[in-house]
Every structure is written in C-alpha cells, then in structure tokens.
Symmetry: C2
Subunit: 219 residues, 2 copies
C-alpha cells in the first residue's frame, strides 16, 4: 500500500462501490500497463472523448497529439479534463443476463491539464511517452529537434484527483441461479503483442532490437 | 461503401485529416469489433469518461451500467454525450521520435443519449449488448425478469453525427531520416481471447459451449 488517498465526491466510485480503489500504487500499475488513454474535454457544453498516447512521470500524466491539439485550439489556459485508462481482462459469463459482466481494471483522473511550455520538461515528457509505449526505444531513435519540439503539443495533468476500479474473478450469480442449466465462467482477454514487422524500407543490416522482440506488456 | 455521410464541424477530423473516414459501413465494422466504449459526459463543466459495455442495433448505440447510472443521476432528459470506441492494432516505430505513432481504428459518436423506458426496447437493447459481447450467449442464460429490467439503466444514442479515424501500415519517416541507423517497423497488437475458465461452482455436467471456445473477435 502506498500513501493514503481520500477520494473526492467526484471520484468516489458510487456504482459497485466495493470495486473502488483509492491506492496510488495500484492506480499507477494500471496506468503503466495501458497503451492509450481516453481524454475527455468539453467544448460548448459538448463532451469529446479522444484516444491518445500518454506517459507518466512521477505524479504527472503527459498527453500529446490530436487530443491536446483540439483542446488547445480552444483554450490556452488550463482545461478541465478527464483521463481514463481501461484494461480489459475478461468476459464474465454469468448464468443470468443481469449478472453478465467484464473483468477490467480502470483509472479515472480528473483535473486541469495545462500546456507544457518549458522545452526541458517537454523533452522529458516526450521521453516518458516513448518509454511508456516501448522501454528502450528512446535511445535508438533520432531525438526531436527544436522545430519538432515547437510543433509538438504536450499537456500535463497532475494525478491528484483519481480513482481506480477493478473487477476480477468468476461470475457472481444470484444464489437461486446457480442451478440454472448453463455453462458459466470467464473468457480471458489480453492485449497481445505480435512478432515485429519490418518497415518495407528497412536497411537489411538492421535487426529487430531485443526490446521489440517477444515484447510483453503485462508486468 | 455505404450511404454518403457528411461530417459536421464537430466530427470532421482536423488533426491528420487524411485519416478521417466518414463511411457508415466502416464505422460500424469498428463499432462491432470493440468490446467496450468510453462514454464522455459533463457534470458542472467537468468532463467524465467512463468505460462501459455497449451494443449496436441498426443505427442506434445502446449503453448501460455505471456510466448510464452516473449520467441519469443528474439528468433524466437527454444528455449530450460522446461515445468513443478504439481498437489498437500496433506500435509504429519510426526512425525519429517525432514520427512514432500507433496503428488504430476509432469511432467517435456525438449526440444526445436518452434513457430507454419501453420494456420491449429495453429487452432488445440488452439482447444487442449481449450479442455484441458474445454471440450465442443470450439463448443460454436466464432472461431478465421484470424487477431486473426495472433496475437496469439503458441509454440510446442515435448514430447520426460520427467520424472514424484509421491509421495503418508502416512508419512514415521524414525522407532524410530513412538513412538513420536504427530498426523501424510495427509491433502488432491484438486483443486475444484465452481458453475459457470454468466457474468454480460450475455443475460438472456443463461443458464449455462452442461459442466460447476459440472465440475470435476479429471479423
């Protein structure tokens, strides 16, 4: 267990409250295993939810790409966002439709995202984003130049207001349904990495690096 | 190609516009392959993004569960939502950090979700949700009773304002970077289903049904 954390009214899990987890270490494990997040923001009272890459450095999340772009078009001050990361672990097949479920681990972070202006922090954020996707890659590629850094939008969201939600294990049926004549159980789900595919223009002298071979995401 | 569809200012893809797709058939393929969506809604100007199951019946999306619950706590009329489904297909490892990317297929649907009140439509929506997760399951389980139907929140979102976004294929590097001495290519990603795990309380006479064996999601 890491430091105690008290959820706010906005992050307290109200539906299936026994699934709510407010432990920072567990939330970070989930955040570190996901490949993408879904960023929510509001324009003219319309919510938008955009998938994008992210990275974590300490108690900050960094996002970039099209989500940041669309947000920044409208606001160059801080913008209220919700960043959600979901890992899907299985289909939970109960004996009744009502108790069908899924096994998952998710984290919701609420707060105000701000654009990262400092070039040094921006570079570190890009490194966190790269390390997040594929540790080892950063050292092997051409680093961003000044022009690219200026063209890159990165936003920082402090991980202060958050909650995690986890469901795992077998289906939970109503007691009287356990005699219902059907199969019940879990179909596991896992994000699987495949064998690397060489770029068609790859220099034949270049071999697939170790960090990209048999890359397994599950810690 | 299906019927022509003209994006609105809100759904036109502005970042990497060549990735924008406004074809209904392609959007539905993506929607039908995903297991979960991320629903965005707004409470007191704060966006929330909640993962949840969904189903499609014709030109309607149905969602239920905790997202609907939290939304309905605040609004029993229609509520502006954004439903996003993202399929992750690969890590795109370019020769420069700036051109790192991911292969993905995503759909964003904007609109107003309303609670489904009619018991018949609600039952059909639950069937669509079940068929969406695991075709064949619906016929094998105990159907919802009146009490459960009343306790279930289902919302309907017409698929009228939407866009899809797709990136596939190898990295696209700046021309001068192709000689940079590093490996480049794609690490494929796929949501893999595993061998079904029997419920610990399963009647030993019950065998794993065909629809849950070797279940592959990719159409």
């Amino acid at each position: 267990m890491s430091e105690p954390y008290t959820p706010t009214a906005r992050t307290r899990v109200t539906r299936e409250p026994h699934r709510g987890i407010y432990d920072r270490a567990i939330a970070y494990q989930i955040l570190d295993e996901g490949f993408i997040c879904h960023v929510g923001f509001v324009i003219d009272n319309q919510p938008f939810v955009i998938p994008t890459g992210y990275g974590r450095a300490g108690d900050n999340l960094y996002i970039h790409g099209s989500a940041a772009s669309r947000m920044l078009r409208n606001l160059d001050q801080g913008v209220p966002v919700c960043v959600t990361v979901t890992l899907l672990d299985g289909l939970v097949l109960a004996r009744s439709i009502f108790n069908q479920s899924m096994n998952y681990r998710s984290v919701v972070v609420l707060g105000t995202a701000v654009a990262v202006e400092d070039p040094k922090e921006k570079l570190e954020a890009l490194r966190a984003l790269s390390d997040h996707i594929l540790p080892g890659r950063w050292a092997d590629v051409r680093q961003p130049n000044d022009k690219e850094l200026k063209a890159t939008l990165v936003m920082r969201l402090p991980i202060t207001e958050f909650s995690a939600k986890v469901r795992q294990g077998p289906p939970i049926d109503d007691e009287e349904d356990y005699s219902f004549p059907t199969w019940a159980g879990v179909v596991p789900l896992k994000m699987q990495t495949g064998a690397p595919i060489n770029d068609p223009r790859l220099d034949p002298a270049q071999e697939v690096p170790l960090y990209a071979r048999n890359y397994s995401r599950n810690k």
